[in-house]
């Protein structure tokens, strides 16, 4: 059933519409007047959805790792690996957009006092270890099995790093962490929401699109190599 979705077009068109909407209205929409943030709050439509997209793709990767461990069909390993790849890419984009934002509002590209930033970087390291692990096996079956096990750990720690550690921290510059109020409480007004939610789904769709192509390419490669 899942394989069919990869070949359907409706979500491609939805993604296109949503992203066009985001990229046009993101620059025009009425924003709340906030000190320091000012116009840079428009990065909310790019930086935050990148992380949502990464979380979504990593969740898919985790689900397919679990499915792989349940029935050991090689195609689920292909899904898990490629969703993780694109998720990593989205996370890198999230870090880059975050760095630009940090330069504008906090005055530096990289801030140590910022727990969430460093935790996110560590989360990317966790997943880069996943790719290194995948590349160090020769036998495809044990590669799939061992990396599925590791990816479960990786996801748990990813969630701890992104969602738990920043909230435990005593000081943080991100909204909603280290005692700061979240975006919801004061400034995510309805105009922002109007663009923010389409942006989230748009970027998730783009991530899904990229991974669908990687997955289909992998299937073609496997057919050519006569693995299946």
């Amino acid at each position: 059933m899942f394989e069919k979705i990869l070949y359907q077009n409706w979500w491609r068109w939805t993604t296109i519409i949503l992203l066009l909407f985001t990229c046009i209205y993101g620059f025009w929409v009425k924003i709340p007047q906030l000190p320091i943030l000012e116009e840079s709050i428009r990065n909310l439509f790019f930086h935050v959805p990148m992380w949502f997209s990464m979380m979504f793709l990593m969740l898919l990767s985790l689900i397919f790792s679990l499915v792989y461990l349940a029935n050991f069909q090689p195609k689920y390993d292909v899904y898990a690996a490629n969703f993780a790849k694109v998720g990593f890419f989205m996370g890198t984009l999230g870090i880059l957009t975050g760095m630009v934002w940090a330069k504008v509002t906090w005055g530096a590209w990289w801030v140590f006092a910022e727990v969430k930033l460093n935790a996110a970087a560590a989360a990317l390291l966790v997943y880069s270890a996943y790719f290194i692990l995948r590349s160090s096996f020769n036998d495809p079956e044990s590669k799939a099995k061992f990396s599925a096990v590791y990816s479960i750990f990786a996801f748990v720690m990813f969630m701890v790093l992104i969602n738990v550690i920043p909230r435990l921290a005593t000081s943080s510059l991100h909204p909603g962490n280290g005692g700061n109020p979240g975006f919801n409480s004061y400034d995510l007004d309805n105009h922002l929401r109007l663009v923010f939610y389409p942006a989230v789904f748009g970027w998730i769709g783009l991530g899904f699109w990229l991974s669908s192509q990687l997955i289909r390419m992998d299937f073609v490669k496997r057919k050519i190599d006569d693995i299946d």
Partner: protein, 218 residues
């Protein structure tokens, strides 16, 4: 799962370790040498924050070395023999327990040395030892499972590559707890942090127990 099986397995580990004293002794010298180098590099003067960071880093590196060879000890044939007599859960539980004990012992040794060299004062010793204990369990859980993964690849660096980023949340919490233990102020953070470490330990234990059978049925 039978308790006496686990105890037998742990005893077997200990006997194997003691029979080959060279490894144990080399780990001991490794630890002493590491703290001695730190002592010289800092000229014997060090702030507590730096002390605790270095203390945990030494533990981290020795833990990778100690646990990295957990599954090298089993020779191939013996491994097949073990499979016929114990269940995977018993095996992984015995390994986790044995490694936790071993790491705790090394932690105490490192602590005594660093205490001797730098003469730090820790106000809340019970909390500090609780941190050592919980940290040791966490290290042992993560590195034991990963060493089963890496022992199949023959890539020596892989254990550090897999382990270090994943150990980071635990390390952050432990460092905070160590800081709290030094100046014995009544901090509201203490309970939250201890709880978080315990939850992390539990998660890693449960994941190890669930996932090890998959790795073992090769």
């Amino acid at each position: 799962m039978r308790i006496d099986n686990i105890i037998h397995l742990i005893r077997k580990e200990a006997v194997l370790e003691l029979r080959n004293k060279a490894i144990l002794a080399s780990m001991l010298i490794y630890v002493i040498g590491a703290s001695f180098i730190v002592y010289y590099a800092f000229q014997g003067q060090i702030e507590f924050q730096v002390w605790s960071a270095i203390f945990w880093i030494i533990i981290l590196f020795s833990a990778t070395n100690i646990i990295g060879k957990t599954f090298d000890k089993e020779v191939r044939l013996q491994y097949y023999y073990l499979r016929t007599i114990v269940s995977p859960i018993e095996l992984i539980l015995s390994k986790l327990l044995y490694n936790a004990i071993l790491i705790f012992a090394f932690e105490v040794i490192i602590f005594l040395e660093m205490l001797l060299f730098f003469g730090v004062e820790i106000d809340n010793l019970p909390l500090f030892f609780l941190t050592l204990f919980l940290g040791g369990i966490g290290f042992s859980n993560l590195f034991t499972l990963f060493s089963t993964i890496t022992s199949r690849t023959g890539n020596v660096v892989l254990l550090s590559v897999l382990g270090f980023p994943i150990i980071l949340p635990l390390l952050l919490l432990i460092l905070r707890l160590t800081g709290i233990a030094e100046v014995d102020v009544l901090s509201t953070d203490t309970d939250v942090n201890i709880g978080a470490v315990i939850v992390l330990d539990l998660i890693t234990t449960v994941l190890s127990l669930i996932l090890f059978p998959y790795l073992w049925n090769e």
